[in-house]
Amino acid sequence: MASEDVSRIMQIADYLRPSHFGYLPLDAWIESAVKGWLVPLFRPFFRTLQWPIEQVLSGLQALFLSVPFIVVLVLAGLGAWRAAGRGVALFTIVSLFLLDWIGVWNETMVTLAMIVTSVVFCIVLGIPLGIAAARSERTAAVLRPVLDIMQTIPSFVYLVPIVMLFGVGMVPAVIATIIFALPPLIRLTNLGIRQVQGDLVEAGRAFGSTPRQILWEIQLPLAMRTIMAGVNQTLMLALSMAVIGALIGAGGLGLTVYTGLGRLNVGYAAVGGLGIVLMAIILDRVTQALGEKGFVSSRRRKPAAAAEKRKSGAADAGKAETTLKSV
């Protein structure tokens, strides 16, 4: 085949491209839809949405920053010890000590307030949505593509409209974090409830339970481990948004990293990054441990349990966990 034949074929093939005939101005449409319609019309609405987040966030931030370092250290250590044992407690204390030592204590507390706020709102939104998805195929079918989009769309893409609608600052950053971190909690809540054995739900119905009673007595307790895994995932995702949030005005460790990046100051960025990593490890271990224990631990505490009985009780709890795992 001659070379001019090839170039001719290529030319013809090029004619078949839609861009040869014209240009679909999708970007302009979205631009005008958001700027000309969404923002002016709904900005007040979105602004009011901010209010509860603002309250929780500023409350938590003020709280975390006002509590003395040593109190936070002791409380966090005790909490980690109760939830996850001695090792995690030790790690927590050493980490917090280090974070203050390297001079990012206040930033850590700001980021913590942001993360906790995001997770609280994720729980408030995500668990009911997950329950709704578990109870109705239609809801699940509607939610699934929405969650897919939320999880796949790069967070940089929705930062722009968020800034337009909410402005810049901590609260818009929290909102971006919620959008990013919410999907796994909904998915895992849905999954956890659907995984509850059919015959248990059937038994609930056979003994005269209403759907609401079945939810509270049977489904939620048994789905708790999966839901806690969802909370854990949400927490980790929220932490990973700390730096991106700094792009639209969030403070804390994210801002430290972002500033370090802007100034090409490796040490500054590394300090912020270390803070995020240490926080992530602590929060992950503690929430995972809480999820592992789930409902069983609280059930085992029976009054007047002799030492021996407690021992056998622990063995039972262990067994219960293994059966649950096999479930």
Binding site: Q197, A206, F207, E217, V296, R299, D316, T323
Partner: protein, 457 residues
């Protein structure tokens, strides 16, 4: 003569002959002396003629559950399938044409107060679906269900809940205990749904747990218990509601054979005590025949045969049932009355040997039963025992006292263990009166199933 329930006799047999014999029986105490058997020639009496009140509900017990034309179809497009089903299409045809599964296909039955009604069938025969329709865990596609005259199919959510809380409790195959609740809390579950306060339901739960022997385990989690114990908890959870009707979906299938047998005995014990009406689902025919007052054999969503265990075993409705019961332990299922019992010549104590001998010869029987004034057997005299004895002696001087007596309703197996050759055993009715004789050969042929195979041929 035939010593039977007067009413039952009149019901079951030709009137003239038997009324005569009943009258004769009534005359016996006054006239003193032997009597000829009611049936001339003393022929074999089949099970159907010999009306022995079987264990179970008395006649005329009120119907608790009445099911008519119940059909359950899974999948969408139920209307088409229903239409096909009413045209008599088979399950496979409907699956082929409408792409839906007919789980239960036009099933009708009724269950009486205090009865254990067992539905037996292979897996996939629709038996579990059937029992779930009764308390509407599954919505029936067609047909009617009435419990104590109350329509279940049309019941609204509220009355359905009341039914499940107060009348119909259920026991599940895989126990379905809540793993996050203690044994006592599991037992309390239904009571909690009823709205009982904590102390009240705890007290009740401990009571019930005591009755199933698990009071010591009240505060353990179910996972600490063995399978048999877990199912006891499942049973206790149901019994805590004092249900009038108990639905049991293969409750013992997940248990090992020894535990299963114990549980079966315990269930019978409980049922005797509380007279609960029980619908029992199983795939184990031996279990069905052991427990059931009546047994329904289910295949492809339909009832193939419904009847008392002995009826199913001795007269299977078709080849499927015949095949199903082939490996059954017939000796344990069939009552003595299902074997050929010879009507016995009887002689009252004090009758002369000569009169007894004459009676025996007239009936061509091999032995005569010597009875007291109430018709209870005192001894047995064979021809050899009396034919050479002085005729004026009272017959009891020449009878054997070491004879075997067996109630007509007890199992052939229990007779096998005690039978003494060559003497026949005396068959008694419920009140202990002699009604006939049975020899080893008839016992063996009944267990061997010769009568059943003849019936099929």
């Amino acid at each position: 003569m035939l010593v039977e329930d007067a009413g039952a006799t009149a019901n079951k047999a030709g009137v003239g002959d038997d009324v005569h014999s009943v009258l004769l029986y009534q005359l016996v105490p006054a006239t003193e002396g032997g009597s000829v058997p009611g049936r001339k020639g003393g022929g074999a009496i089949g099970m159907t003629q010999l009306s022995v009140p079987a264990a179970g509900p008395a006649k005329g017990s009120p119907k608790r559950i009445e099911v008519r034309g119940l059909t359950k179809i899974f999948g969408s497009g139920a209307e088409e399938a229903l239409a096909l089903a009413s045209q008599g299409a088979s399950r496979a045809e409907i699956l082929d044409k409408a792409n839906v599964v007919v789980a239960v296909h036009d099933v009708s039955f009724s269950v009486e107060q205090g009865e254990i009604f067992v539905v037996v069938g292979l897996s996939g025969s629709g038996k579990s679906t059937l029992v779930r329709c009764l308390n509407r865990l599954h919505e029936p596609s067609a047909g009617s269900i009435e419990i104590d005259g109350e329509d279940i199919v049309g019941a609204d959510e509220e009355s359905l809940r009341a039914l499940r809380l107060n009348k119909v409790a259920m026991v599940f195959q895989h126990f379905a205990l809540l793993p996050h609740r203690t044994v006592a809390e599991n037992v309390e579950y239904g009571l909690k749904m009823r709205g009982l306060d904590k102390t009240e339901r705890r007290r009740k739960a401990l009571d019930v747990l005591k009755s199933v022997g698990l009071a010591a385990w009240a505060d353990q989690l179910p996972s600490a218990l063995s399978g048999g114990m877990q199912q006891r908890v499942g049973l206790a959870r149901a019994l805590a509601l004092d249900p009038e009707i108990l639905l049991m979906d293969e409750p013992f299938s997940a248990l090992d054979p020894l535990i299963r047998r114990d549980m079966q005995q315990e269930l019978l014990e409980l049922q005797r005590r509380y007279r609960t009406t029980i619908i029992f689902i199983t795939h184990d025919l031996n279990e069905a025949l052991t427990l059931g007052d009546r047994v329904a054999v289910m295949k492809d969503g339909r009832f193939v045969q419904v009847g008392r265990p002995a009826q199913i075993v001795s007269a299977p409705a078709d080849d499927y049932v015949a095949n199903f019961i082939r490996d059954i332990d017939r000796g344990r299922v069939l009552p003595v009355s299902s074997a050929s019992v010879t009507a016995a010549a009887t002689a009252k104590a004090g009758t002369s040997v000569a009169f007894a001998h004459q009676t025996l010869k007239a009936t061509e029987g091999q032995a005569i039963v010597v009875v007291d004034a109430d018709g209870r057997p005192l001894g047995l005299a064979t021809r050899g025992d009396i034919q050479d004895s002085p005729g004026d002696m009272p017959v009891e001087n020449h009878m054997r006292r070491d004879f075997v007596a067996v109630e007509a309703a007890s199992s052939l197996f229990s007779l096998c263990q005690r039978m003494k050759e060559p003497l026949p055993a005396v068959v008694l009715d419920k009140s202990g009166r002699a009604i006939g004789l049975i020899d080893a050969l008839s016992v063996m042929s009944a267990i061997g199933g010769s009568s059943a195979s003849e019936g099929r041929a």
